[in-house]
């Protein structure tokens, strides 16, 4: 069975003929070549495949592609500006040692984005809660928390700049 769906992907309108059993991570990675979304377990246990659908962080390995019809999907590829400037979260993960092997990083950054979009002032406990579903084996999480906190500051500065 195939179905034609329409959705917004990183700001672009997309129409795509999909097989009904495809997961969103399959659609993104295998069909559309968006390899930034990683698959670490295929069971919703590690969070490496996290993307944002209508402002919610979801495990794309469990999310059926057919469910994104008429929805807004954000992946790691859509975060940086078109001129190549990194999103504040990407920049702060880079600057604060939030990335080692990097396999969990796209999912980690997407979960952090969903959090900060909703709660720009999230504190350490809220950050920990939001990232509880994203496993990292390299960093011990400390520099990831510091990265998210630094991103809050960066975002606040950017906003200050715009207002000023």
């Amino acid at each position: 069975m195939t179905t034609k769906i329409s959705f917004i992907l990183n700001g672009d309108k997309i129409s795509y003929e999909i097989k009904d059993h495809w997961t969103l991570s399959h659609l993104l990675r295998e069909e559309m070549g968006l390899i930034g979304t990683k698959e670490g377990c295929g069971n919703g246990e590690c969070g490496a495949c996290t993307v944002i659908v209508d402002n919610l962080a979801v495990n794309s390995c469990l999310y059926l592609a057919i469910e994104i019809d008429d929805k807004n999907v954000e992946t790691i590829e859509g975060l940086a500006s078109t001129d190549g400037t990194l999103h504040p979260l990407q920049q702060s993960f880079v600057d604060n040692g939030g990335i080692q092997c990097g396999f969990c990083s796209p999912g980690m950054i997407m979960s952090s984005k969903a959090l900060l979009d909703e709660n720009p002032d999230a504190d350490r406990e809220e950050i920990k809660h939001a990232l509880a579903g994203n496993i990292c084996r390299c960093t011990g999480y400390i520099q990831i928390f510091e990265s998210v906190e630094a991103a809050k500051e960066l975002a606040a500065e950017d906003k200050g700049g715009e207002n000023g």
Binding site: I35, N43, L86, R137, G140
Partner: protein, 694 residues
């Protein structure tokens, strides 16, 4: 030494990981992301039993399935294709399986789904045999043999050492303690699962994309595999995509790589084998569990008199580097704290469990856990404060340990003091709250385990002052790319971003023994430094003529070469390189260097200075234990390390944080639950890694 005195511009700076932006944007390519034209997908069928004879295999239905290109069984594997350092393990088993992880067949098909379907169509008749899963029981006289032709389950390994006279020292000791400890199965849990893509060119030369920490040794294994296939004098090129975590898991070559090679050769197409998470848990090698017997004594002043340790290690059904972890266990056993009389015996025992492998620390954590637990007991027995007791027995600069390790510099006492200062050991009267301290020694200046402990580097400069450096060393997230770039940039007066570090392809990178034993910063770093020094000298000689200044007096900074005495005598390095290139009899600046440290192989006596330097540290922890449920909450954790000069403090901290959390998982939450050889928790729900909330 000059560098230590002068101010450094690049070394010592917290420069973010060079590939971090690429990774943050989702552009880094892992083995998961490698897709080649015409590529087929391979899948492996594993044994249904922990120990069984294979009576019959019928692959006809699988072969008949549309989309299937090849089906292999043990019959299709060349007789001499074997894995592991004692070559006891063919990539697909024939006639007999000795663990659930044993490969019995493999398929290549046009899609992963069809390959999976084909596996289900392979019919195998087994005769189940009694298995043995407890290494101590496997040592008993009438235990079933894992490999009958070997006549014993105990591997022939040389782990039997006696320095000094332990029996005499025991008799003369004022206090003696003795206990038995066990450690559990834990596994690497790299976030990126294992995989490989193999392909052959028209002349039967192999290219293999694989996750490996040992590109050069893997190349040697694959050349041997080709030879076993009748492809002698062919080439093997190993390409290493970005690695999604290593931790020792990628120190050997594995069945999936050899099977991908066999399938690719048979199908004349690229073949990819990619593990899913369940397969990653079930079919990769773990850190082996140990049973540890330890006896230690001290005199009435608290000075250690002897240490006597005996271990039984579960080797699993086949042999990989897990069987050599006692060589590293020997280091803390002989040399953590001063103790003259040391005995150590380790038996690696075949069982029908999964076979064991190196994992972060390579045996050191198991040995140190028992030593430090015993140190607490001995301190208590002789009535001394456990921190003071450790300080009485501390290692010091200038020591030579019974094993022959030469301690060049040692900050152990400072580390212990730092932990004590931070953790305030004595101020806890709260119910269920306790503290602990442990020290560590580890190699820090290479580790000569093979004939060579070396690493090569090739450095070339372009016309614009940029550097490409091809290193044998491997980055898997720990930051060797930065270390290399920062060292080269420092030496040549450049910025880290001017240095492109290539560490991914045996066709262009020179030899290295592998990313293990905390050796890469020291060995690959020195290889790069040597190459940079050679190029620097060439630039100095050329610039000397152009700037009319003595070559050796010329300095390099901020992309310029200059003569410190005269501000007029300066030139951008790029301009100088162009002049060198586009002059009559022009030249380009390149250099190669192979660095092999002056450390010693331990040899048959298991004695020798295996590393150029040793690193020390102390960790302290304050925990709260719920006395009803046993739940442990970590309240504070302090880690103090004597690291020398940190080349990149940001990445160094990341290594310590990551190591601490992996260690806490080992101690508190992680365990592969093994029931008669079967992994009962092959997923992240039941294998409990620390999460952000822990």
């Amino acid at each position: 030494m000059d560098n230590l005195k002068s101010e450094l511009s690049v070394v010592g700076k917290p420069i973010p990981k060079l590939d971090a932006a690429q990774k943050a944007m989702g552009r880094a390519e892992y083995i998961q992301d490698v897709k080649l034209p015409g590529m087929l997908y391979g899948k492996i069928l594993y044994s249904k039993f922990a120990n069984a004879n294979i009576i019959k295999i019928d692959t006809s239905k699988a072969k008949a399935l549309a989309g299937v290109h090849a089906v292999l069984t043990g019959e299709d594997v060349p007789k001499k294709m074997k894995m592991g350092f004692i070559k006891d393990n063919p990539p697909i088993k024939k006639g007999r399986v000795s663990s659930f992880r044993d490969e019995v067949a493999a398929v290549a098909a046009i899609s992963p789904e069809i390959a999976k379907k084909a596996l289900a169509l392979i019919e195998i008749e087994y005769e189940e045999l009694e298995g043995i899963f407890d290494p101590e029981k496997a040592m008993e006289k009438d235990a079933p043999l894992v490999h009958e032709h070997l006549k014993s389950n105990v591997l022939k390994m040389p782990w039997n050492i006696h320095y000094g006279d332990v029996d005499k020292a025991e008799k003369e000791s004022a206090f003696v303690v003795e206990d038995r400890f066990t450690t559990t199965w834990v596994t690497h849990c790299c976030m990126g699962t294992s995989g490989a893509v193999a392909l052959f060119d028209a002349s039967d030369n192999l290219t293999i994309y694989s996750n490996t920490q040992i590109p050069s040794l893997a190349q040697k294994d694959f050349l041997e595999a080709l030879k076993s296939m009748g492809l002698e004098n062919k080439r093997a090129r190993v390409i290493k995509p970005i690695i999604g975590g290593g931790f020792g898991s990628k120190l050997d070559t594995y069945a999936y790589e050899h099977i991908a090679i066999l399938l690719a050769h048979k199908c004349k197409k690229p073949v990819k084998i990619m593990f899913d998470r369940v397969e990653e848990f079930n079919a990769t090698s773990t850190r082996q569990p140990t049973v540890i017997y330890i006896k230690q004594g001290c005199d009435k002043n608290g000075k250690l008199t002897f240490r006597d340790m005996r271990m039984v290690l579960d080797n699993g059904a086949h042999t990989s580097w897990g069987a050599t972890t006692p060589s590293v266990m020997l280091m803390p056993i002989s040399s953590l704290y001063k103790v003259e009389n040391v005995k150590y015996n380790a038996k690696c025992v075949y069982t029908n469990n999964t076979y064991s492998q190196a994992m972060r620390g390579y045996g050191n954590p198991q040995a140190t856990f028992a030593i430090e637990s015993s140190m607490d007991m001995l301190a208590e027995k002789c009535g001394m404060d456990r921190v003071e007791f450790r300080k009485i027995n501390k290692n010091q600069s200038g020591d030579e340990t019974p094993q022959g390790l030469k301690i060049t510099s040692c900050g152990l006492e400072e580390c212990i003091d730092a932990v004590k200062e931070e953790l305030k050991f004595d101020n806890n009267n709260e119910k269920g709250v306790g503290t602990g301290i442990a020290s560590l020694i580890h190699v820090g200046g290479g580790a000569r385990i093979y004939g060579s402990d070396g690493c090569g580097a090739i450095l070339k400069m372009d016309d614009y002052g940029k550097v490409d450096i091809f290193t044998g060393g491997s980055d898997m997230g720990q930051g060797l790319d930065n270390i290399t770039a920062q060292i080269v940039a420092e030496e040549l007066g450049l910025f880290a971003e001017d240095i492109n570090v290539v560490h991914s392809d045996t066709d262009v990178c020179p030899w290295d023994v592998g990313a293990h034993a905390s050796r890469s910063t020291f060995v690959a770093g020195n290889a790069a430094l040597g190459a940079a020094k050679k190029v620097k000298k060439k630039i100095q000689e050329f610039a000397s003529k152009i700037l009319d200044a003595p070559a050796e007096a010329l300095e390099f900074k901020d992309r310029n070469v200059f003569f410190p005495g005269d501000p007029e005598k300066t030139m951008p390095i790029g301009k100088l390189l162009r002049k060198a290139h586009f002059s009559p009899n022009g030249t380009m600046l390149m250099a190669e260097n192979f660095y092999d440290p002056d450390n010693q192989n331990m040899g048959k006596e298991l004695k020798g200075n295996m590393s150029m330097t040793y690193s020390f540290g102390a960790h302290g922890v304050k925990v709260k234990v719920d006395e009803e449920t046993g739940k442990v909450e970590v309240l504070e954790y302090v880690a103090a390390h004597d690291v020398g000069r940190a080349i990149n403090p940001l990445l160094l901290e990341g290594q310590v944080y990551g190591g601490v959390v992996m260690g806490l998982g080992y101690a508190l939450t992680e365990e592969v639950v093994n029931q008669n050889g079967k992994n009962m928790n092959a997923n992240f729900r039941d294998y409990k890694l620390f999460t952000a909330k822990d």
